[in-house]
């Protein structure tokens, strides 16, 4: 399978990529790791006139400790996230999600910016960045803009990112809940994309859940924070009964995806199971 012809431009910096985006307009698409875009182009589901390759921009590949938050460059690969001791320590949910994406070869190429820009309803990271209360940095010709994860995922394949913007950084707060976080996944056995991915970040004090954030990937048209589960467990003692009652609220009142392999009913049931396991693991 061969993509339709296109014009290829290699950007040496974010500034150059932005100028190229402006110059080529609607015709152009950013190419990062290419592990969503190239397969889509081979199937000719995407036929961009111009590709602007940001894959070689080294200034987009980093994981830095900024004190209050971890700064992760958009070009950081899943393998870099998976193997970072800083991420393991400050945001284990992100590290666990990275380690479960696709396979080794995919993790060597795919980038965090690519996942978040693509916003595949079946991707792993979206629920995780919601649970970790991350901030997304976008750069456009007018300068830099910050978008809260909670405002970022706007629908099926839709994000708050503008057409001529580049996602440059993801910021993960280094709070105590994020240090006590996890990500559990029920994967499609062949593709490894999640049918259900559940990320939880939790603050505990004296056996109680003092604060909690729960994010789901793969369950609905776009990733979401599940305030039903959060409200049910916040302030409660952490035991089998409270966790069972809270996880039973998973995806309550939301429309849930259904496909050939996993029906809506089964997905909903699995969301509850994975929320229960994640809450139990952190308690």
């Amino acid at each position: 399978m061969i993509p339709e012809s296109f014009d290829y431009q290699r950007a040496g910096s974010v500034r150059e990529a932005l100028a190229l985006l402006k110059q080529h307009g609607d015709e152009a698409k950013i190419l990062a790791g290419g592990h969503s875009l190239v397969p889509t182009m081979k199937l000719r589901l995407a036929t961009p006139g111009t590709l602007i390759d940001i894959g070689g921009i080294s200034e987009l590949k980093y994981i830095n400790d900024k004190g209050d938050y971890l700064a992760i460059g958009a070009g950081t690969t899943h393998w870099m996230v998976e193997s970072s001791s800083l991420v393991q320590q400050k945001a284990p949910a992100l590290s666990q999600a990275a380690a479960q994406i696709g396979d080794v070869q995919v993790r060597n190429r795919g980038t965090i910016g690519g996942v978040l820009a693509h916003s595949d309803p079946q991707a792993d990271y979206p629920g995780v960045v919601l649970a970790l209360n991350a901030t997304i940095i976008a750069e456009g010709s007018g300068g830099e803009r910050t978008i809260e994860a909670a405002d970022y995922f706007t629908g099926l394949w839709e994000t708050a990112l503008g057409d001529n913007e580049i996602l440059t950084e993801v910021r993960i707060p280094t709070d105590s809940a994020n240090a006590n976080s996890c990500y559990l996944k029920f994967p499609q056995p062949a593709s490894r994309y999640p049918y259900v991915g559940c990320a939880v970040a939790m603050d505990k004090s004296g056996g109680n859940c003092s604060d909690v954030r729960v994010g789901f990937s793969g369950v609905a048209e776009s990733a979401f924070r599940d305030d039903g589960v959060e409200d049910a467990i916040r302030g409660q003692a952490l035991n089998d009964d409270t966790i069972a009652a809270a996880s039973a609220k998973s995806a309550e009142g939301r429309s849930v995806l259904s496909d050939y392999f996993v029906s809506e009913e089964y997905r909903r049931a699995m969301a509850q199971v994975y929320a229960k396991r994640a809450l139990t693991q952190l308690s």
Partner: protein, 152 residues
């Protein structure tokens, strides 16, 4: 457009269409046919090669994305007529039958042992998830990697 890369220690410069896949470039322009195409949909790992020290599926990369890259394919594993220890182990432990998946398996095994010289059986199976074998049932591949771990 012009693209230059070093493959198994030799530099090559070619004029390619931007839409040329890396695997097509390797097989058809460089005539390095040890890299196989199994699925052409990023799933099977038969096309796995090493780009700048990391394994990738060459059916899911454009040749132009590899400008200036240092590439290794299965043809570059043996040195001075001597098989790489991982290749030896696959031969000794019968880690292959038809051999179609083998180039990719060997390069993925190389990546594993480079990052984790003493992997457990679980770690071996997990790290070869991106490589399918339709013949062996995987058992002898795992044995071959365990054997290779004692040698590299």
């Amino acid at each position: 457009m012009e693209v230059s890369m070093t493959v198994n220690g030799t530099s090559y410069t070619h004029d390619v269409e931007p839409r040329t896949l890396l695997v097509t470039h390797l097989r058809e322009n460089l005539r390095l046919t040890g890299t196989h195409v199994g699925c052409d949909t990023s799933s099977c790992g038969a096309c796995t090669i090493i780009v700048d020290g990391e394994t990738v599926k060459s059916c899911t990369l454009l040749a132009v994305q590899c400008e200036g890259a240092e590439i290794k394919t299965i043809e570059g594993m043996a040195e001075n007529g001597k098989l790489h220890p991982i290749q030896e182990s696959f031969r000794e432990k019968h880690g292959l039958q038809c051999g179609f998946c083998t180039p990719g398996m060997i390069l993925s095994s190389w990546q594993l042992l480079e990052r984790n010289p003493n992997p457990s059986e679980d770690e071996i199976r997990h790290s070869l998830e991106g490589n399918f074998c339709r013949c062996t049932g995987y058992q002898n591949i795992v044995t071959a990697v365990q054997d290779a771990a004692t040698k590299v």
